[in-house]
Amino acid sequence: MDIVFSGASVSFAGRPALHPLSLRLCERRIGIIGLNGSGKTTFARLINGLLRPTAGQVTVGGLDTVKDEAAVRGRAGFIFQNPQHQMILPVLSEDIAFGLKNRGLSKEEISARTEAVLERFRITHLAGRRIHELSGGETQLAAIASVLVTGPDVLILDEPTNQLDLKNRRLIEKTIADLPEQAIVITHDLPLLDGFDRVLLFHEGRLEADASPSEAVRAYRGIVGC
């Protein structure tokens, strides 16, 4: 799906967090890298209208993120940096089903979809578990399942492998690689970017590089000086 930034910028209390930016994203796998505070999350939040541009415009599949906010939210799913916070109900299957309510689906349809998405991510055995008892990797899978069950076209993940051990990191990397959906991934986990179509490097609120993974990572190392 086409995501278009037209001179979009963000300031918080007059301080620019993202300088005016124009670009078009349509690749299947897009990575976002940069130091802490460089504007990655701000950029990502613009895409599904969680944040409104201070100036300029962002469209997703031709829909304006401000004017068509609800429709955009339905198309662009978001996985937060702390996925615990996006799980509202304490039990996994309940939480997934809850995301499907208010959408005019029947009870049977809701439970069928819930089961299907649990199966898709091979977490059927976690259905009755409490979100708080899940491991980091399991929580991340659960969050991805709870968002994809509603059928968005693009998934935005904010540092999905950040707090994971090596094994779970590999699991989530593979899960992301296998997603048929378009994915935009913010990460400090550079090996995750292997095979990505395009990587954006942010630095102090500006787009510093927009290139292949290897080139963008080289520019990133240039900034850090190692």
Binding site: R45, N48, L50, A70, R73, G74, G77, F78, F80, N82, H85, Q86, I88, L89, P90, V91, E94, A97, F98, G99, K101, N102, R103, R130, I131, H132, S146, V147, T150
Partner: protein, 201 residues
């Protein structure tokens, strides 16, 4: 850590529908306020305690949940003893005590989503008049039930961190970081609710 106040189990109270439990709780409250005899109320309190215990909740957890409210009830009873009579004080103690224990038993055996469904259904008629959005109210109640235990756990964490740094644990010194952290989370949670389209109709 505990999230949500319901505990897993398959006791008769767990199997009863949320609606039935809420109706019975309401009727019990009315009955408790109609009865004045302290001994009858004492019997009710004992039955309520038995019901609470029957939910399979661990004893320490059961006590932890109700101790604050029960302590308040005790203060009210003492005030009644001072200003009125012993009989009145005992009636207040057992009446409110029974009610607290019954409510705790219902809370321990009802899942948040069951509560939310029930509240939504209850408010639907009001929605027709445009007073409220039933789904919003039930979401708010669900959020409170879901995050209150988490906030309490965090309170414990902050106190611990104070102790670890050798700081004296003063209520204010704990409350300020607690409020700041909670507001920060609330912000993210509010965003997550929007992001997941929970409020879309």
């Amino acid at each position: 850590m505990l999230t949500g106040l319901d505990i897993a189990g398959d006791t008769p109270l767990h199997r009863a529908s949320a609606r039935l439990k809420l109706i019975l709780l309401f009727l019990a409250a009315v009955a408790l306020f109609l009865v004045e005899n302290p001994w009858a109320l004492a019997a009710a309190a004992i039955i309520a305690a038995g019901l609470y215990a029957s939910t399979g909740i661990a004893r320490s957890e059961a006590f932890r949940r109700v101790r604050f409210v029960l302590f308040t009830v005790l203060l009210v009873a003492v005030a009644n003893y001072v200003f009125h009579s012993l009989a009145e004080a005992l009636a207040v103690l057992f009446r409110l005590g029974a009610l607290v224990l019954l409510a705790a038993a219902v809370t321990a055996t009802t899942t948040i989503s069951a509560f939310m469904d029930e509240i939504t259904r209850l408010l639907r008629p009001l929605e027709r008049f445009g007073f409220v959005r039933a789904a919003d109210v039930s979401l708010a109640v669900g959020l409170v039930l879901r995050f209150v235990p988490e906030i309490l756990a965090r309170y414990g964490d902050i106190r611990e961190a104070h102790r670890a740094r050798g700081l004296r644990v003063r209520p204010l010194g704990v409350l300020v970081p607690l409020i700041i952290l909670t507001l920060k989370d609330a912000d993210t949670i509010a965003m997550a609710i929007d992001a997941r389209g929970f409020r879309r109709q």
